[in-house]
Point group: C2
Chain length 420, copies 2
């Protein structure tokens, strides 16, 4: 039992800061060796991990957690192997730190460039999935950052068991054992400390529900890279290929329902709505997707639920799609500007100027032409890994890979230059 | 008199958001035309500006403002011309928005790239100098951002008069008149609204004292790009050229005392301190700079003030320099890690490996080898303009030019691609 949670957290922070400094001075070799050693420890600890996880599952069942949550919590052989493989994949990626770019001579004679370096200490707050412990630790370690991991209380035993593997791997590779620290208390005050230790923590990456993120926005003094909602739109322009539109829209909604890049609102140009909407209705009926339509949509095809104002601002994460008929690209972009969460929007069109306007003017982290919103993903974008998708505009926007966990500092090379 | 400050500020925010959307869709031409038109209006309004400024000066004198503050507040003919020229220089810089980089095909067939775009709406909070109104408006406009400017209450009339010129220039160039809005109340509650309107404001740039920035850290829900302190260090290594060290150290301290990139703490390697410190003491005596030394420094040369613990954490902004003798680069970097504000640090050395270690391991926004810390400046770094110097690690670090006022979004080009 930890009595003074704030003192405990500050102790972790101080150790993380020191470890971060040490990590920042390492070459790729020891960091990759640690990642591979941790993967091996996780494979070797399979039974230990499952035993620890069984305690969490039993406690979860006793507490009446729902089936979906219990499923996310469970560590199976396949999931344990996937954690180990994920770490090996991270080890195989290029080192994101150390590159010096744009080193150029200035009129004064000094040379100025930028060096990519780790952020320092990253605080990650997440919920039930214990595999996040290994994933997040791996991404931070690869990018030369120390991290403080605060997982869900329901996964405490699983996370602690994974932490043991991580520490063993770090020590084996000669890296500081406090480079990755898993918070060992479920006391909510630990979060309050973590988000205000701006002297020890450089950035927060919350991976959880809206309530958590709103709490951090209100209370944190540490900056964060966050993802709020994914209310994604697709606008089918008058000049769209309707076969393509059907294929893209159905994929964007139905390929997975619960992901943040899933389509939630469909905007149809008035010129093609009469032809396209009945076809889409038939396809969505096959998938059991409920369509909630504006007045014009409901007048065009039978069987739509009338949409309410709230529908345009709802991330369903479910087989429901809101549909609105609009007159032209300006009306579509005005709807998006008002209702989008800034995650991902797509246009289906063969009209070049409309495609260009949509790309330029829509203010979201990903803007697409003739492609499914489901592509908004670090792996699909070639980042090789992803710590999350940011709907912020500062620092990292859209899928955040290893580069998002680094920053750049200016370097100046002189030969005794002084400012006149 | 504005009765409901929060409603007033939200009204400004809504108008700024709309103007920001319009600006983001503009080409360079109208933005540059507006900058030049504003410059002309400022030149033409010279007498009006001086009359408005005289009211602020009179009120400031009546309120007992000190001479330095009154000097910063004054608008002279030369300062008015400098504002106009500054806007013309910004107009002549390359457009920071619109570039698409790294557009590459992915295994799925989509092409993914990044487009540089404005941040949206920028809130700037600043103090007495009225020229910041024109400078900040110019940088935001150039980078396609709307802005909300909250100047110091002592400069209210001057800022309002400058705002008139800005609005006339915007209208002349056909841009929305709410692209730049100067808050017309000195009520401190306006700041409280501005820093929590995260639906209307994308980023805050506070340009003021530590009290202001600490208030924003505690209360803001809008992210900010900030500059806290400039406690800059120079470490003279055992392998330094002592002539060069003397030149660099004296310049870094004495070229200007009140700037954030001025040297505040000098670290001398024990091997060269005995030779170098008396020479530096003689030079600094000529400038009237007080040296506050550690025990070893005080033992090496007479006339030093003994430093207290507080000296190592003080930004003097005055002719005072703290001096500490350390044993080697590790001790120097440990001192810096503990006491630096992360602004700018320099090493003077001819030892290649030490230069490389210092560049890599020192965690500050600018790290220099054999150059004066006074070079840490947007103009010296070739940025062409500067909104400030950031000691943050997220987004913009070091001198922040036009690029720091933009972000990148992902763009995805497909031909009807769906995710399998």
């Amino acid at each position: 039992m930890i009595e003074d949670v704030n003192a405990y957290m500050r102790g972790l922070g101080e150790a993380a800061r020191a470890a971060g400094r040490e990590l920042a001075a390492t070459e790729s070799g020891p960091r990759n060796a640690a990642l591979r050693a941790i993967a091996e420890r996780i494979r070797g600890a399979r039974e230990t991990l499952k035993t620890a996880n069984a305690k969490d599952i039993a406690a979860g069942e006793a507490a009446g957690l729902d089936a979906a949550l219990l499923d996310r919590l469970a560590l199976t052989d396949a999931r344990i192997e996937a954690m180990a493989e994920g770490l090996e994949q991270i080890a195989a990626l290029p080192d994101p730190v150390g590159a010096v770019t744009d080193l150029s001579p200035m009129p004064s004679g000094i040379r100025v460039g930028r060096m990519r370096v780790p952020l320092g200490v990253i605080g990650i707050i997440y919920e039930s999935r214990p595999n996040v412990t290994a994933d997040a630790a791996g991404l931070c370690l690869k990018s030369g950052n120390a991290c403080l991991l605060r997982g869900g209380s329901e996964a405490l035993h699983s996370n602690q068991a994974i932490a043991e593997c991580i520490i063993e791997g770090l020590v084996e590779a000669g890296l500081p054992r406090t480079a990755v620290q898993v918070v060992a208390t479920t006391d909510r005050a630990a979060v309050g400390s973590l988000i205000t230790m701006d002297d020890y923590v450089d950035v927060l990456v919350p991976r959880g529900g809206k309530g958590l993120i709103e709490r951090i926005m209100q209370e944190a003094t540490v900056p964060m890279i966050k993802h709020l909602d994914g209310i994604c739109h697709c606008y089918v322009d008058a000049a769209a290929d309707l076969e393509m539109a059907e294929r893209v829209v159905v994929n964007a909604k139905t390929q997975r329902y619960g992901t943040c890049n899933t389509l939630e609102t469909l905007l149809l140009d008035g010129d093609i709505a009469e032809e396209l909407l009945p076809r889409l209705k038939a396809r969505f009926d096959e998938f059991g997707v409920e369509l909630r339509g504006c007045e014009r949509s409901c007048a065009l095809v039978a069987g739509l639920t009338p949409a309410t104002d709230a529908d345009w601002d709802t991330e369903y994460l479910a087989p429901i799609l809101s549909v609105r008929v609009v007159d032209g690209i300006d009306a579509a972009m005005a709807h998006i500007a008002r209702h989008s969460s800034g995650h991902t929007e797509a246009i289906v069109t063969n009209h070049h100027a409309n495609a260009e306007r949509f790309l330029r003017e829509v203010d979201s982290s990903s803007v697409m032409v003739n492609a499914s919103t489901r592509f908004a993903d670090g792996f699909e974008y070639g980042l090789g890994a992803e710590i999350g998708i940011s709907t912020d505009k500062l620092h990292a926007r859209g899928p955040v890979g290893l580069e998002g966990l680094t920053t750049q500092k200016y370097i100046v090379l002189g030969e005794g230059h002084i400012r006149e």
